[in-house]
Symmetry: C2
Subunit: 331 residues, 2 copies
C-alpha cells in the first residue's frame, strides 16, 4: 500500500492524543483546501466551519496503545471518517432543504443543489481514498463485512428509513431505533472499530469496542432528539423543533403520542411550538427518552470499565460517553 | 481478501467472453435485487432496464488472456463498474430533472428526489464493496493513484465542470474536452485499466490500455453529442436536442458558434429546434465533431493494432472502438 495521507511526506510515527487530534485537523484542512480548482470554492467553504469532530476523537481514543500513544495512521483514518460524515451532511442538507450548517450557509444554498450533490459525492471519494491508504496491522483479524463502505451503506439505509417515514406519526419505538441505529450509530461504531483495529487491544475486544461505539452513537442521537424539544437547549446551529418541523418523528414525540391520545389531533389542528413542547414534556416523552439514555449510559459505562485497556484510555472513552450524553466534556 | 462477489458461493474460474458477460449480468442483477427491504423497490426498478453495459464489456475484453479466457474476478469488477455508472446516472437524473432513463421512469420521478440521492449513494457503496472484493494478481504493478474512487473523483469533477458551465455559450473546445474527459472518458479508462490489471498483458502495456480506453470514451461522448443534433438519430431513451435544452453546450454547437457570428443572437431570440439543428450543421459543427471522432478513431485503431495481445482480443477491442463511434457492433 502507498500512503496517500499526510502531506508533504508520509510520516509514520506515534503521537500523543493531542498531537493526533492536531494532525487529524491538519489533514482534514489540507484535504479540503487541496482540492482541484473547480471544486475548491465549495470545499474551502466547508473548511471554514469545523465540527466538534467527536467521531474523529472517538477513533483516536480507541487507537491508543499501552504506551499512551497513537499511530499516525489513526489520524489519517480519523480525517477520513470526518470527511465521510461531512459528505452525508452535505447530502442531508440538500434533502432537508436546510439553510445553515455549523453556523455557516449550507453548501447547496450558496452554490446550488447540483453542485452540492456532486460535492457530497466528491467528499465521499476523498474519504475512501484516504481510508484506503491505511491498512490495519498485518496480524489483526478483520471482519470482512466491516469496511467503511459497509458502514456507509448502513448510514444510508437509516437515512432512507427516516425519509420514508417522514411525517409518519405512527412510527414505533422499534422503527425509531432502527433509523438512528443506521443514520448515527453506524458511524460511531465504524469510528470505534477502526480505532480498535489500529490499537494493540486483543482481537477478542473488537466486538466490545463496536458495541460501545454503537451505544455512544445511540446516546448521542437520543440526546440530540431530546434537545429538539427542550426550549432551554440549542444544538449547534440547529433551531429548536427543527426535526418536528421537517417531519422527522423522534422518541420524545413517539412516547408522548402513545400516552396522550388527543395529541395527534391537536398537532394536525396546528398546535404551536410552545404548546407542543409542553405537551411532549407533560406526557413524559422527554423523561422517557432520558431514561433510555440513562440505560445505555450505565450499560456502556460498565463495558468501558471491563475493557482490558489502560486507565488513561478508559478515562477518555468515559469522557466521550459523557460528552455524547451531554454530561461532561470530551477528551 | 474475502470474496464478496458471486452468490451463492465464490467461484474462481476462467470463462469465455460470453460466459463472463453472462456472469456480469447475473451479478449485477443479483446485487440490485438482493438489497435490504427498505431500498429494494428502488434498486429492483433500476434492474428492470438493462443498459448496454459497454463499460463492462470493455473491462471483460481487456481482461482476456492468451488462452482466450477471462478470470471470473473480471465479471465481478465489471458489475462494480456498471453499478458505479448507474450511481452516477441516478444522481445525474436528479441534477438534470430528467423524466426517463433507459426507457423507464427516472428513479427520482418515481420515488422522490431524497430517495434517489440516497439510492445513488447506496449504489456507490455497493460498487466499491464489490470492487474491494477483487485484488489484482500479486505480481502486477499497480499505479496507486488509479483506484476506482480516484476515477470516480475525475468523473465528478467533469460533471461539476459541466454544471458550472451550464448555458455558457462561450465554452471553448478545450474546456469541452476537459468536461467530457472527466464525465465520460474517465470511466472508460477505469474499465480498460481494471481489465488490463486482471489480464496477462505485460505491465508496460498498462499505459496504452488506459489511453485506448480514454480515447474510446471520448469518441463515445463525441458521437453522443453529435446524435443530439442529428434529426435522424436518437440515442437510447434520450430525445434529440436534450443536451441543448438542458443548457449543456457541446462541440457541434461550440464550433458552429465560432463560425456563424449571428447564431448566438438567434439562439437568444428563441431559435426553434429544426432551425438550430440546420444552423449547427450548415456552420460545419457536426462535420467538425465527426472529424475529431475520425482522428481519435484512427489513432486508437493503430494503438490497438500495435498491442502485444492475441488477434481475437484485438478484434474485440476494435469492435468496441467501432461501437463507440457508432460504426459497428460491439462484441
Amino acid at each position: 500500500m502507498t500512503d496517500a495521507c499526510a502531506a508533504p511526506a508520509p510520516r509514520k510515527e506515534r503521537l500523543s492524543f493531542d498531537a493526533a487530534a492536531g494532525r487529524t485537523a491538519e489533514e482534514l484542512n489540507a484535504r479540503l483546501k487541496g482540492t482541484p480548482a473547480i471544486i475548491r470554492r465549495l470545499t474551502v467553504h466547508l473548511s471554514k466551519a469545523a465540527g466538534k469532530n467527536i467521531r474523529a476523537r472517538s477513533l483516536l481514543a480507541c487507537a491508543m496503545g499501552r504506551d499512551g500513544l497513537i499511530h499516525s495512521d489513526a489520524a489519517c483514518l480519523a480525517a477520513a471518517v470526518e470527511l465521510l460524515h461531512l459528505a452525508t451532511l452535505v447530502h442531508d442538507d440538500v434533502i432537508d432543504g436546510a439553510a445553515r450548517r455549523r453556523g455557516i450557509a449550507a453548501l447547496h444554498k450558496k452554490f446550488g443543489e447540483k453542485a452540492a450533490i456532486l460535492c457530497g459525492d466528491y467528499l465521499f471519494c476523498l474519504s475512501l481514498e484516504l481510508a484506503s491508504a491505511v491498512e490495519p496491522p498485518a496480524d489483526r483479524r478483520v471482519s470482512a463485512d466491516r469496511t467503511l463502505s459497509h458502514y456507509m451503506s448502513d448510514i444510508l439505509l437509516g437515512e432512507l428509513r427516516q425519509d420514508q417515514n417522514n411525517g409518519n406519526f405512527a412510527l414505533t419505538e422499534r422503527q425509531y431505533f432502527s433509523i438512528i441505529g443506521g443514520k448515527t450509530a453506524a458511524m460511531f461504531e465504524a469510528s470505534f472499530y477502526a480505532g480498535f483495529l489500529l490499537s494493540d487491544e486483543p482481537d477478542e475486544a473488537g466486538e466490545r469496542f463496536k458495541e460501545i461505539g454503537r451505544n455512544i452513537g445511540l446516546i448521542f442521537q437520543l440526546a440530540d432528539d431530546c434537545a429538539d424539544y427542550e426550549a432551554s437547549h440549542r444544538t449547534a446551529g440547529k433551531p429548536v423543533l427543527s426535526d418536528f418541523k421537517t417531519g422527522v418523528v423522534t422518541l420524545p414525540l413517539i412516547y408522548a403520542l402513545k400516552k396522550d391520545a388527543g395529541l395527534l389531533a391537536r398537532i394536525k389542528a396546528g398546535l404551536g411550538p410552545a404548546a407542543l413542547k409542553k405537551a411532549v414534556s407533560s406526557a413524559g416523552g422527554l423523561q422517557y427518552a432520558r431514561d433510555r439514555i440513562a440505560e445505555y449510559f450505565e450499560k456502556t459505562r460498565d463495558f468501558i470499565a471491563a475493557l482490558p485497556s489502560p486507565p488513561e484510555k478508559k478515562d477518555m472513552l468515559s469522557a466521550l460517553l459523557g460528552k455524547a450524553a451531554g454530561r461532561g466534556a470530551a477528551p
